[in-house]
């Protein structure tokens, strides 16, 4: 009888320890995945910001007239000699809707398109889910008069491309990590 109790007791304790190790392992794995996703998310946000920043700073370069042709909240069209070949180029940025990025798990992500002289280039989504452009005058007041625009405020909402399996840091109805990036760009040539 005593041996039976010993066996049952040690099996119970062994089971507990096994479960503990298993749970620890699962937690470590999910935390590692979340950590990688978070890093990728922040890298994506930074990449998007650098792409936009690179072009927007050149708005109006070598252009004598009003440099911005279209200024919408998710679309901008401007003039600049972007490739420095002496000819003013027409550059346009606009965002697609969420039906264009079907290759990712995230149902909300969109693609930011960049066209140069009508030639369209749509890169990877990089988890972008929303972009908002605001146009400010010299006193940082929102304006819709194209000639008065001095600053462009760009806000980016970026989410992870793959869903979080076991994370306490996401909305269970939309389990994707999220980050936000904003920048105010003052193109020197407008």
């Amino acid at each position: 009888m005593s041996i039976l109790i010993d066996i049952l007791g040690s099996s119970f304790i062994g089971g507990l320890i096994l479960l503990l190790i298993l749970k620890l392992n699962l937690f470590a794995n999910s935390s590692g995945v979340t950590s990688d996703n978070e890093l990728k998310l922040q890298q994506n946000a930074k990449t998007l910001a650098e792409i936009v920043n690179y072009d927007f700073r050149k708005i109006g370069y070598d252009c004598d007239s009003t440099s911005i042709a279209v200024a919408d909240s998710n679309r901008i069209k401007f003039y600049a000699d972007i490739d420095r070949n002496g000819t003013v180029d027409i550059i346009e940025y606009y965002a697609s809707d969420s039906t264009k990025a079907l290759g990712t798990e995230n149902p909300r992500d969109i693609i930011l398109y960049r066209t140069v002289n009508g030639v369209e280039m749509g890169g990877p989504t990089l988890g972008l889910t929303k972009i908002k452009l605001s146009y400010l005058d010299q006193f940082n007041i929102v304006t819709n008069i194209l000639a008065n625009i001095r600053y462009i405020k760009v806000e980016l909402w970026v989410e992870s491309e793959i869903r979080e399996q076991e994370s306490n840091f996401v909305n269970p109805n939309h389990p994707y990590l999220f980050t936000y990036w904003e920048m105010k760009i003052n193109p020197r040539n407008i």
């Binding site: 010993d6 503990l20 620890l24 935390s31 940082n140 980050t179 936000y180 904003e182």
Partner: protein, 160 residues
């Protein structure tokens, strides 16, 4: 099981629990740092926005129309600040001295942005100057209850 075995078993479970607890807390700490990084990113972008805004302004109230070659005509170091203007109608860099405002962003609220403007030595931009020079240093500090340390960006403006 004799008593010794029981004590040894309980001791090993206790040690395992401690290891597990430490492991969990270090993972949680890792997650906290990641979240804090996101808040830092936004804090730095807010500071950068502020510097970008100031870049559009004149170097000094006295150089709004014409630049000067005489340092003594610039605003004295003790008088750096707004000259009657109110935000957002500031017209020169030092109007932003002691300017501060709060900002709320989508994933973290209660950022506080504070600006300090002062003259610095022309040969050593880390040394504050008590007299006028052609270099003004702008320190933008962003704080948040979610940050352990403030985010601080510095930019030195020279007369255009």
């Amino acid at each position: 099981m004799n008593n010794l075995q029981s004590i040894l078993t309980m001791g090993s479970i206790f040690i395992l629990s401690l290891v597990s607890l430490n492991f969990n807390s270090s993972l949680l700490q890792n997650n906290t740092v990641e979240l804090e990084n996101k808040v830092y990113l936004t804090a730095f972008s807010l500071a950068d926005d502020m510097i970008e805004e100031i870049k559009q302004k004149a170097f000094d109230e006295k150089t709004l129309v014409f630049p000067t070659v005489n340092r003594s005509t610039l605003t004295p170091a003790g008088s750096l600040g707004k000259e009657g203007e109110n935000y957002p109608y500031f017209d020169d860099v030092d109007d932003y001295n002691n300017y501060s405002r709060d900002a709320d962003e989508p994933h973290a609220e209660k950022y506080h942005i504070a600006v300090k403007v002062y003259y610095v030595s022309e040969t050593d931009p880390d040394t504050e100057s008590s007299t006028q020079t052609f270099h003004k240093r702008v320190d933008v500090t962003v704080s948040s209850p979610y940050l352990n340390n403030n985010a601080k960006l510095t930019f030195i403006f020279t007369q255009k």
